[in-house]
Amino acid sequence: MRRSVIPGFGLALGITFLYLGAIVLLPLCALILKASDVGLAQFWGIMSSPRTLSALRVTVTMALAATAFNAVYGLLLAWVLARYEFPGKRLLDALVDVPFALPTAVAGLALTALFSKNGWFGAPLDALGLQVAYTPLGIAIAMAFTSIPFVVRTVQPVIEDLGSDVEEAGRSLGANDFQILWRVIFPAIFPAFLAGCSLSFARSLGEFGAVIFIAGNQPMKTEIVALLTFIRLEEYNYEAAAAIAVVMLLMAFTMLIITNAVQAWHLRYLGRGDA
């Protein structure tokens, strides 16, 4: 360590370690310890049961669907906020934060009421024969709502920082709007876009509050992994709860590694742009 004249390293590091250790690491270690007690055969039995597999499939598929929606809408929203001036822009910018500020239980309640059979959106959709509440589609909508700011807030500053020179160079070389968009702008924002999408996907995998209101929570149909973990706990089936929770933890770590790799790439990309 390089000697610093600033004091307080020991104290600050101590508080940081104590807090992280007691609040974050201790519970995670306890969970892993508990899951390691389960035994490989039993673990395999829990994870390969039809109900667990169905919950995993529903969660991953709907998280992908939600991320796909957020990729398109989030990109457009970021573009509008970064490139256009229009009345109400400040309000739109503030609205993007609603899903993060609004508690997930409140979001879940509101979305369920919107999409239930006699709700504002549910009634006309029902007349068209489309049911959203209590179906997998409802799960995807709840996941998309809670994770939309990830894409917007990752991409927006990158579009804002995009200089005009590359675009003008492209234009002077005779490229049309679509070519500039595809060949110049999109490559520049792609790493940030990918990072935003993976954050959105990771959040969707673990979402609980918003989803359980709208999902209907039917085993084998609209049950997500987070809810199954919760149910196993209520049944005092601690082994199963620990096993499923550890798998969710592994999925989170995998997404964390992917997101970090993408973000490192994104920063290198920015670094090269600055040089």
Partner: protein, 296 residues
Amino acid sequence: MMEKPVSERAHTEWRVTPVGAGPVARRVVLGIVTVVTLLFLVAPLALIVSSALSQGVGVFVRSLSDPGTQHAIWLTVITALIAVPMNILFGLAAAWTVTKFVFPGRTLLIALIELPYSISPIVAGVAYLFVYGSQGLFGPVLDYFGLKVMFALPAIVLASMFVTAPFVARELIPLMQVQGTDEEEAAVTLGASGFATFWRVTLPNVRWAMLYGAILCNARVMGEFGAVSVVSGNIRGQTTTLPLQIELLYQDYNVAGAFAAATVLTAVALVTIVIKVVLERIGRETDVPLARPPGH
């Protein structure tokens, strides 16, 4: 690499029409975004207010003064009053550690600080059960001394601290990294004590970012559902925080009551967003830009 302060960003002066600035493209893109935003972000907010008041102000007020809801509000406020200051303390210590000093393992420490962001609240709740529950690591010891952590206020506070641990730190770290250590080094060289340096030099430089992190942290603590629903045990009138009370009322088919409780949390969310906008403006004007890290 740090985000550049707004003032240093390249001023873009267009000599040709930028992509998407044509009248047709602009109208189409703006139109799509407006419609989807109205349907997707505005409608839920409008529905909460309209549902809460749909049976008249009388029912709304009576729902809010229901003893269960009153207790839930009180429990939620107490939880925030403990968890948020703890997180501010941790955020300051963590940011001070990783931005004012260079030491091996620094990057790993930053990753650890941000870890709770990526973990599902349900997993956090389950993990706490295996520490303090009767099946957990400390369960037998706690039972022996007659201490109750699980299914009581301590567990609710601990789980809330887990899910919001990075909030303040994450706002402070990028900002303090930009500010560097020159001012602190000058203060110490001139004979200021460590505490005086922190109080007179560092804290004034980061106070808005700290407040910003604390406000976001508060909103999340008050709204946390997944982690708290596991560790609170959901005992009616005892361990139900406001978000849990919403679910209880909803399950009892008391939709008006659920929406009345939801308006309280919606109000907290809207106030949070307003304060965020104000703090961002202050940050721009004082040229100490608030960090805009991805995703919260």
